[in-house]
């Protein structure tokens, strides 16, 4: 047996967060032979909400109602914002494609027309977001109507406190109540984890047991709120099943990470991408990419002792920011470790962060990143594309702050769509 293997692809995507996964989906859907490399751990941090644009201008620290309208203003004020490079119609198309993709994978999303909705977080605060997993969306109507609602606390779950949500919301929501509960078969445990509970809930027999313990609490309420643990792979049936059997509307509030809604998304991607024949190499880190004379790229991976060479005609860099390793910072500068693309950044470390963590303008470092042109090719200081067939997408891009603007998924999806379209035209 040979110890080396070579794979060829039209497009290789480095990174497997929201941007990388979406790009792999768009590429494979277009019929491109697609390879994806990365580690999709970041999904366990996602709330499952798909943000488009929640706050603008950042300094207001206030939610915007209509993200599409706010986007017009954003593009005018920040002409280098990634949204400024993509026709609005394309952003809509890309978003719609993703929503129907999730739908077809059993993960339905709800939008409230063109408007953002304010969804309850595990802190009891409200977050403006654009597309909401159906299981979370009921919290929106429950809150709007201030309907009689019971929040279920789960014994041993450390990153969800029904009491806190209740306290924060109760002055505006008199009909909100809480109930402590112990999940069956976890009575002996000091701590329970969302993944554990969600896996249990995936099993119909367990669900039966759970429903019978919860049923007695269902009195004089229209809605039942829970931490998001309603299954992973069978989420759809878990959700409809318990709504039917309990006879009330049910909603989930995402827990602080580990967060199940993100893990559900990851499963949808992994399932569909493998069906579309995308070759995924997870638990792999790309340290170097070399370029051949014919313009193709070579990436070497070590597959447990076996050397794997990937030869690809085009590349997408979607390696995220610091947390995911797409950007690195030392005492002097911020750099990008794979291609060493220039990073647009403040002049010195003293300018990276504001004195206050919650500073209204946000931190300058969060707008640092790779500058690209209108087709998402990284550009040099003179504005010229650095590599003809490489695009950068997602949160690694400069000139946006996804955390303060609440635009993470939107920027990822939109830039993935635009970059895949461009690179496909190059093939």
């Amino acid at each position: 047996m040979s110890n080396t293997e070579t794979l060829n692809s039209d497009i290789t995507i480095i990174g497997s967060g929201m941007a990388g996964m979406t790009a792999a989906f768009f590429a494979a859907k277009r019929g491109l032979s697609t390879i994806q490399i990365g580690h999709p751990t970041c999904f366990s941090l996602y709330s499952g909400f798909l943000d488009l644009l929640g706050v603008f201008p950042t300094e207001t620290q206030k939610p915007v109602d209509d993200p599409w309208k706010a986007m017009d203003m954003l593009i005018q004020t920040v002409p280098k914002h990634p949204y400024a490079f993509i026709p609005k119609q394309d952003i809509r198309t890309a978003f719609d494609m993703m929503l129907s993709f999730f739908e077809s994978e059993g993960l339905s999303y709800v939008c409230h027309g063109d408007a953002n909705a304010q969804i309850i977080t595990p802190m009891g605060t409200l977050k403006p977001t654009y597309a909401i997993p159906i299981a979370a969306d009921n919290s929106y109507s429950a809150f709007q109507k201030k309907a009689p609602t019971l929040l279920l606390d789960v014994y041993g779950l450390k990153d969800f406190h029904a009491k806190q949500i209740f306290e924060v919301l109760r002055s505006t929501w008199p009909d909100l109540r809480i109930q402590h509960s112990v999940f069956p078969e976890t009575e002996h445990l000091r701590e329970v984890y969302p993944e554990h509970l969600a896996n249990l809930m995936d099993m119909p027999s367990y669900r039966e047991k759970w429903i019978s313990t919860v049923k007695p609490y269902i009195k004089n309420i229209d809605y039942l709120g829970l931490p998001s643990i309603l299954g992973i792979r069978n989420h759809h049936s878990v959700f409809s099943d318990i709504q039917a059997q309990l006879g009330v509307h049910v909603f989930e509030i995402p827990t602080r990470p580990i967060s199940i809604p993100g893990i559900r998304m990851r499963h949808c991607f992994e399932h569909r991408l493998s069906a579309l024949d995308v070759k995924q190499f997870f638990q792999q880190k790309v340290t170097q990419v070399s370029e051949e004379s014919n313009g193709n790229f070579l990436i070497k991976l070590d597959q447990s002792g076996k050397e794997l060479t990937i030869q690809t005609r085009t590349l997408i860099l979607a390696t995220g920011r610091f947390m995911s390793g797409g950007l690195r910072a030392d005492y002097q500068t911020i750099h990008e470790p794979v291609f060493h693309f220039p990073i647009c950044q403040p002049n010195n470390r003293n300018l990276w962060h504001e004195k206050a963590f919650f500073a209204s303008e946000g931190h300058a470092i969060n707008k640092a990143g790779i500058e690209v042109n209108r087709v998402f090719q990284p550009i040099s200081e003179s504005g010229k594309p650095i590599k003809e067939k490489v695009c950068a997408i997602g949160s690694i891009l400069a000139n946006h702050d996804w955390m303060r603007m609440k635009s993470g998924s939107g920027v990822s999806i939109a830039s993935a769509y635009a970059a895949v379209n461009f690179l496909a035209s190059k093939l």
């Binding site: 941090l45 709330s47 620290q61 206030k62 939610p63 977080t121 595990p122 802190m123 009891g124 605060t125 409200l126 977050k127 403006p128 041993g156 450390k158 990153d159 406190h161 009491k163 806190q164 306290e167 924060v168 109760r170 002055s171 002996h188 000091r190 701590e191 995402p254 602080r256 990470p257 920011r321 610091f322 947390m323 690195r328 910072a329 030392d330 005492y331 010195n348 470390r349 003293n350 990276w352 962060h353 004195k355 206050a356 963590f357 919650f358 209204s360 931190h363 969060n366 996804w402 955390m403 303060r404 609440k406 993470g408």
Partner: protein, 518 residues
């Protein structure tokens, strides 16, 4: 209005103030201690934690050096739980002053300090991370001290003996007549309510703030402020305290404490006490200087930085802050026509007991009470609630004390719900509203790599569960806690700690929108 009367009102809940509270309590004198924030909010919570052997002062100030030795020995004997005495090494690297190196042991001998010359090989075996450019080394008796535990236990003991702690209570003024302070005006910083205290004696132990307090009684003290910044590594780099073998200077001490090490300090003259925080420039400077002694200081991960202020009592024209007396100033304000007012400031953590003794002697004299000081003989008791600042305590409790209703709220430092409940209960005895920053001071909360990312929300959740927080108070608490951590994080954010900070922002801003609340 609430009026309290007391024998002694102590202002300031640092090592000195709590030390005096205990000293007086052991002599049968009850006090009220008023602290504007919380225990160790000043220099006592922002120092190096070095229990000086005296060797650092041996060349210039033999008296201070032997004072340190004596006090260090007492503390090691009577409060061993607060001290980590693994010893120290003084190291010189290429380029350091040869004469100083050669005379070091005779300086130590003169001050009565044990000191042993090490050969380079031996020093390197003892502490492998010492610089390859090391040219000389001495072994000394330096140790580290946990200042939080020290102040907390001093205060606890005083409280057990009948004294009272008022947290979040600022002294804002005095009413004087007949050359005496008749009442002190105190402000409850959380409710905005005024409290009046009628003391027989007022002790101003407010550290760097001593001048401000004294001015309120029209008794001037002139102080200079020297700010010092320090950095905490994610791992303990050495077993012993490492000092640079040269005339005391910047960033030349590395002090281990529990699972971490602390490198510092800088010394920068400042003019006000507002907004004391470590800066990027200071951090860069400490890295350069410190790495000459221990090169890995340049590459190791840092968890945070912090800054404290040394009050230097201005006696004569001074040029170098380090040569201004680091000895303490005990001032009887009779000379300013305030007969029942005493100020104590300056000094060192190492000599806090001696400072407390001298101050208490003066207080007793004024009260006409004959009672000898007992802090040289009576061991410092350890309390149940005072033990949680110790890094090993949480993990031990979690592993040994299996309790099916417990869970870990702080994963980094392994502190469990039951442990936090103890701390919360102890605060609650004194104060109706336990706060996250106060819990942080009394435990390892927020001190590990996550710097509050996970634990702050969990402990706020616990406080909600226990009905101690209502409405959005918990959110305000978390915001305040994260802002407090941020001061120390901002200048060291690179590499992994930057990743962690990004995660915190993703969670609290990106997801939970805490920035929306004002």
């Amino acid at each position: 209005m609430n009026t309290l009367s007391t024998q002694v009102l102590i202002i300031g809940g640092g090592a000195t103030g709590t030390g005096i509270a205990r000293d007086l309590a052991l002599r049968g004198i009850k006090c009220i201690l008023a602290e504007q924030k919380d225990l160790n909010a000043g220099a006592s919570g922002a120092n190096h934690g070095l229990l000086h052997s005296g060797a650092r002062y041996a060349s210039d100030d033999a008296e201070t050096a032997s004072e340190c030795k004596e006090e260090g020995d007492i503390l090691k004997r009577l409060a061993p739980e607060c001290v980590d005495s693994k010893g120290g090494i003084f190291v010189a690297v290429e380029g350091d002053n040869e004469e100083y190196i050669a005379n070091f042991d005779s300086f130590c001998k003169r001050a009565g300090l044990p000191c042993r010359r090490l050969d380079i090989q031996e020093a390197r075996e003892m502490e492998p991370l010492l610089s390859p450019n090391m040219i000389a080394a001495y072994e000394t008796e330096d140790a580290s001290v946990d200042p939080f535990k020290l102040s907390a236990e001093n205060m606890h003991h005083a409280q057990d003996l009948g004294s009272t702690l008022l947290r979040h209570t600022q002294v804002v003024g005095f009413n004087k007549s007949n050359n005496r302070i008749q009442t002190a005006q105190l402000l409850d910083m959380r409710t905005g309510k005024t409290i009046l205290v009628e003391p027989e004696i007022v002790v101003n132990a407010s550290g760097a703030w001593a001048g401000i307090i004294a001015a309120q009684a029209a008794a001037p003290i002139e102080l200079l402020f020297s700010k010092g910044t320090l950095m905490i590594t994610a791992e303990r780099l050495t077993q012993r305290v490492i000092n640079r073998l040269r005339k005391a200077s910047d960033a030349d001490i590395l002090v281990p404490g529990g699972a971490v090490s602390v490198i510092g300090t800088t010394s920068i003259r400042i003019s006000t006490l507002d907004d004391i925080r470590p800066t990027v420039e200071e951090v860069n400077f400490i890295l350069e200087e410190g790495s000459q002694m221990v090169p890995s200081l340049k590459t190791t991960r840092y968890i945070r930085a912090y800054a404290g202020v040394r009050p230097l009592v201005k006696t004569k024209a001074v040029t170098d802050d380090r040569s201004v007396s680091r000895g303490f100033a005990l001032i009887d304000h009779s000379s300013d026509n305030v007969d029942n007012f005493v100020s104590i400031t300056g000094g060192k953590l190492t000599t806090f007991r001696l400072m407390a003794e001298k101050t208490s002697d003066m207080v007793c004299k004024k009260l006409n009470i004959k009672a000898p000081c007992k802090t040289k003989e009576v061991p410092l008791p350890t309390s149940h609630a005072g033990q949680w600042t110790e890094p090993a305590k949480g993990p031990k409790q979690w592993i040994m004390g299996y309790n099916p209703t417990d869970s870990l709220l702080c994963d980094c430092e392994m502190v469990s719900k039951i442990a936090f409940d103890h701390i919360i209960d102890a605060i609650k005895e004194q104060d109706p509203m336990p706060d996250l920053i106060g819990i942080g001071i009394r435990s390892r909360m927020g001190k590990g790599p996550c710097q509050g990312c996970f634990c702050s929300a969990r402990i706020a959740g616990r406080l909600y569960e226990r009905d101690m927080l209502h409405h959005d108070q918990g959110i305000q608490e978390i915001r305040a806690f994260l802002e407090e951590r941020w001061r120390g994080l901002r200048p060291i954010l690179i590499g992994e700690q930057l990743m962690q900070a990004e995660m915190t922002e993703a969670l609290y801003c990106g997801f939970m929108c805490l920035e929306f609340l004002k």
